[in-house]
């Protein structure tokens, strides 16, 4: 072949989540310590495509990124047509644990962004023995809402268009147009009500302000990285969370809410020192 073909493998794993069968799409590349990547609310695992094609990272890590059910190439479960999708701490946690079990991952590193960054705090607190470390990108124990999420799913406003236009400002202005619009495509193309359903977890069922102090970073190291342009999960939100855990957080320059996809080269400068600490 003369064209570039990336070394990413995409497959489907059949797992039960809270007793319900699911067919979940995941991509992986590399070998070594499993690094499980969690996408943001209302998007999919495409956000990690640059990590999945980074030779230096792949030489030490088996990078795995999956689409949550209802997202990307993971279908909703059978019977979804009568349901309202609502993610909860319990459902999110058990989705991740079922996937780790199904893929027989040995104490993976869990790395998540935004709502993925929120849930890894819960994993570090409640399931510290199952994870080698967690990396929270744009992560905090709580944040103040900045819009009414009823706008995200109603018949007289296009859901994909309004989701993308709302979050477009979370991308830092230094990001390239190509990466910016690739990031926004995840929102433009998401299913109806899915971003809103994810935000049920993010806004209504994951206030960890009284919980993050229980995390023992000796048992499960926690690394927090937040972009200076993120006004959703603000640097202040992350710094407050880090202080409660008793760790240092890093505020990343020229980055917003989607570091891994909006500006992968800039994000790499901050991620590589973290990955170097993980053995």
């Amino acid at each position: 072949m003369t064209a570039k073909v990336e070394g990413i493998t995409g497959r489907y794993v059949h797992i039960e989540i809270l007793g319900r069968p699911h067919r979940v799409y995941f991509e992986e590349a590399g070998a070594g310590i499993p690094l499980l990547c969690l996408h943001t609310a209302g998007s999919d695992s495409t956000q990690y495509r640059y990590l999945l094609d980074d030779p230096e990272i792949l030489s030490r890590f088996r990078v795995i990124a999956f689409d949550m059910p209802w997202h990307g190439k993971s279908l909703p479960p059978a019977g979804y047509q009568e349901e309202q999708y609502l993610l909860t701490t319990r459902l999110y946690t058990e989705t991740i644990r079922a996937l780790c079990l199904g893929l027989e991952l040995d104490r993976p590193v869990a790395m998540g962004c935004s709502m993925g960054g929120r849930i890894v705090l819960h994993l570090a607190e409640a399931y510290s023995s199952e994870f080698r470390a967690v990396i929270g990108i744009e992560a905090s124990d709580h944040q103040q809402p900045w819009y009414d999420r009823d706008w995200l799913h109603r018949p007289d406003v296009h859901g994909g268009e309004v989701c993308a236009a709302l979050i477009s400002g979370l991308v830092a202005p230094q990001s390239s147009d190509e990466c910016r619009w690739e990031t926004l495509w995840g929102y433009l193309s998401s299913g109806p009500g899915i971003f809103k359903g994810d935000l049920h977890f993010y806004r209504a069922d994951s206030d960890y302000r009284d919980r993050v102090g229980l995390i023992d970073p000796q048992k499960c190291p926690v690394y927090l990285l937040t972009g200076e342009y993120d006004f959703s999960c603000t640097p202040e939100d992350t710094l407050r969370t880090a202080e409660k855990i008793g760790i240092e957080a890093v505020i990343m320059q020229e980055l917003g809410h989607f570091p891994m996809s909006e500006n992968p080269d800039q994000f790499r400068k901050y991620l590589m020192p973290v990955l170097a600490k993980i053995t």
């Binding site: 236009a165 709302l166 230094q174």
Partner: protein, 159 residues
């Protein structure tokens, strides 16, 4: 300073919409200084939007009037099929408008920098921090959110 032809330059070769000092903005609110392009005005907004064919196409289903408030100055922005038909300040007495977006002049100026500082790079960042307000009927705004945000950002200095 920008040499981009899409940003109008005044006699001092400063982009239209650029203010140096708040006192210039205050002067712009009164009398003869009203039309001076070195003050923060939206006189160039119709041209900046209407020459952008892709932006006009995105707004082709939108026809309404809304207010852009720059400090104490309200500008009535008339949108017709995605084009800016007029930008007028002060609005004529008893002008109708569907929604209003208001911020102090320094906040708009910061929003229109080529690389805005964190917190000024997006209208929702400014709303969250209290630098900007949106009032009125938000439905046409939300249904055309990308278009409206790009109209509001049209005076931005090109990097």
């Amino acid at each position: 300073m920008s040499e981009d032809p899409t940003v109008g330059l005044d006699a001092d070769r400063k982009p239209i919409g650029f203010i140096d000092r708040p006192d210039q903005y205050r002067a712009a609110s009164s009398g003869a200084a009203k039309n001076a392009t070195s003050f923060l005005t939206l006189n160039a907004l119709p041209e900046l939007v209407n020459q952008n064919a892709a932006l006009v196409r995105r707004g082709r289903f939108l026809s309404l009037c809304f207010i852009m408030g720059i400090g104490d100055d309200d500008w009535l922005i008339e949108v017709k099929d995605g084009k800016i038909a007029s930008a007028t300040s002060p609005p004529k007495l008893m002008s109708s408008s569907r929604f209003a977006i208001r911020a102090p002049a320094p906040a708009w100026k910061a929003h229109w920098e080529a690389l805005p500082a964190p917190g000024y790079h997006d209208i929702f960042a400014m709303i969250k921090s209290g630098h900007m307000t949106i009032t009125g009927d938000l439905h046409p705004l939300m249904a055309n959110l990308r278009y409206v945000k790009e109209v509001l950002a049209a005076p931005r200095i090109k990097p």
